[in-house]
Symmetry: C2
Subunit: 338 residues, 2 copies
């Protein structure tokens, strides 16, 4: 009998383990346009926090006492969808569970056999070849229109999205300053090729960012890739070059507590003509999927883009893995292996 995590109480502020309950899914016969899967990997991502609110949000909010959803890699056990066969590996949205029956609404897509046989791991389609890598690619290259020679600042640079931004920017001959929390994460961001790294836990962001720019001989930043909001975003406004572009991907600093952001340098929007734009992966992904797969696939197989995975084992660990996203508990991509 398949089991799935259900949201049983909407979190106020930071979620706790009590917001979730693991429950059995009712057995059901397979209908047309459905498949039965056994999940191998589950994804937990910061955007899911927004789906736990009752408010209108960009992704439909989780319904109380219903199975939660999210990115997953599964193996097909039984299929009534044309073109999908038992044994196929798929990426789909029926996560937060160990398996069961899913339909086309869970957007099943087969993993490309040629990339798997070239050695790409299945879970790569939950990060660099999927949501997080796609978010990095779209935000950096399309929303912020970053170009070779640009100076790029990226926050949460040791996270799944941020680490992809660092490596994409270096592959495109940009200068990169990454911010991360703690020595271990900072060391990894440096390994990824960042030209300078800021430890935001060691002191205020703006003086460290100004110092990094000075050491690199750069007057300011052309691009800011924001995963954090708050103090990082304000520092970016402080050092934005004329016509700087800010791609706003996330504000993990304020997801949990609707915190007021104190912006001292927002006013530089005008003299520096800064453009700030929020974006969501799914708005643009299907437009550029082929280009993304070709570009990112090449960078991954050549080794130019890598990742570290923080892996939790077992379905039971899923909420814990999710909560770890908000306590700085992960380097790279947070995953659950079943």
């Amino acid at each position: 009998m398949a089991k799935a995590w259900h949201l049983i109480r909407r979190p106020q502020g930071l979620p706790t383990i009590d917001n979730f309950a693991l429950r059995e899914l009712p057995d059901q016969p397979l209908e047309n346009d459905q498949i039965r899967v056994r999940n191998l990997w589950l994804s937990v991502d910061p955007y899911m926090r927004g789906r736990m609110n009752d408010a209108s949000s960009y992704a439909a909010c989780f319904q109380l006492d219903q199975p939660m959803t999210g990115g997953a890699i599964g193996e097909i056990l039984e299929s009534r969808i044309d073109g999908f066969s038992p044994g196929d590996l798929i990426v789909h949205m029926g996560g937060w569970r160990d398996g069961g029956v899913i339909g086309l609404d869970m957007m099943p897509n087969k993993l490309p056999a040629e990339l798997l046989s070239a050695g790409m791991t299945p879970q790569t389609f939950l990060h660099n070849m999927g949501l997080t890598g796609g978010t990095a690619w779209i935000g950096l290259l399309r929303v912020a229109a970053a170009r070779p020679g640009d100076t790029v600042f990226v926050s949460a640079a040791a996270g799944a999205v941020g680490s992809a931004v660092v490596q994409l920017a270096k592959a495109r001959e940009m200068t990169v300053i990454g911010s991360a929390g703690g020595a271990e994460k900072c060391a990894w961001v440096e390994e990824l090729g960042a030209d300078a790294v800021i430890d935001y836990k060691a002191g205020p962001v703006l003086p460290a960012l100004a110092q990094a720019l000075k050491s690199l001989g750069k007057p300011g930043i052309d691009v800011y890739f924001d995963n954090v909001g708050g103090e990082h975003l304000d520092a970016a406004f402080a050092v934005g070059n004329d016509f700087a572009r800010f791609a706003i991907c996330g504000m993990i600093d304020v997801y949990n507590d609707a915190k007021v952001q104190e912006m001292k340098y927002l006013v530089r929007t005008i003299p520096a003509r800064i453009r700030m734009e929020g974006f969501i992966y799914t708005d643009q992904f299907f437009d550029c999927m082929e280009e993304f797969y070709a570009d990112m696939g090449g960078l991954i197989t050549s080794g130019a883009v890598t990742i570290r995975e923080t892996v939790h084992d077992g379905l039971e660990a899923t909420p814990r893995a999710f909560l770890g996203l908000f306590s700085g508990g992960n380097i790279g991509k947070m995953l659950v292996r079943l």
Copy 2:
């Protein structure tokens, strides 16, 4: 002997009359590419506050103990520039003075004789046909890419820029909500055609804006034209529709005291995919000057775009007129008549 206002002390926070001194300009013979003018009208504008700081700013900062500059309408007394003749009326940047010698660096341009003979007043080229009207036109139609049917929110709607935005938006069949301070200004914004008007002095902005949207049957705003920053900007983030565009023209709320802006709704940048962009008139004006003159000239001569002028008399009144911009002392365009 011509006289000019000089900046003698850089203001800390709100400027005071003591920051300025009126001094005689040295007499000087006319050289090539120079003209001697008698000024008729001087412009004072909020952006000049930024030029009074020593910091790098978008317009070169005023030098201490030098004649200040700004928009002006003058009559040529003597000319050594080809195509400029005594008696011609010009718009130029040699303001804050009653006249004297100016060169090409003051960007003299002759006022179009056909518009003057059609009844357009010379000072119109300091507002609706000049800096403020051009700023409104560029910000609304180019930066925010506002389209017929859009719901537009504009702050400082009784100001020189804001009142032009209201009228341009109505001429393009948009729904317009204007914000202004006090009953008299609000009544004028309504006269200009705004569909709803908020008196920001009567209470917090966000509830009033939400109420205005409700009364108009609109779910949110597609465009925000910001002249104010702070609470108005935060309210715009709160009610931005998906893919809303914010043209950031000014933040008069924070010019004088580098106030921290407390943003509670900035996080909506992401789920609503809001694009916020700062702009400066001179970046774009020369690209679209002909289109602007044709469009705005037609709207002014047809009466679709009007303005109110707050006029101070005499060169001595110039700093007082400027200071009035920050105390809510003007409806429409603040001018000095010589």
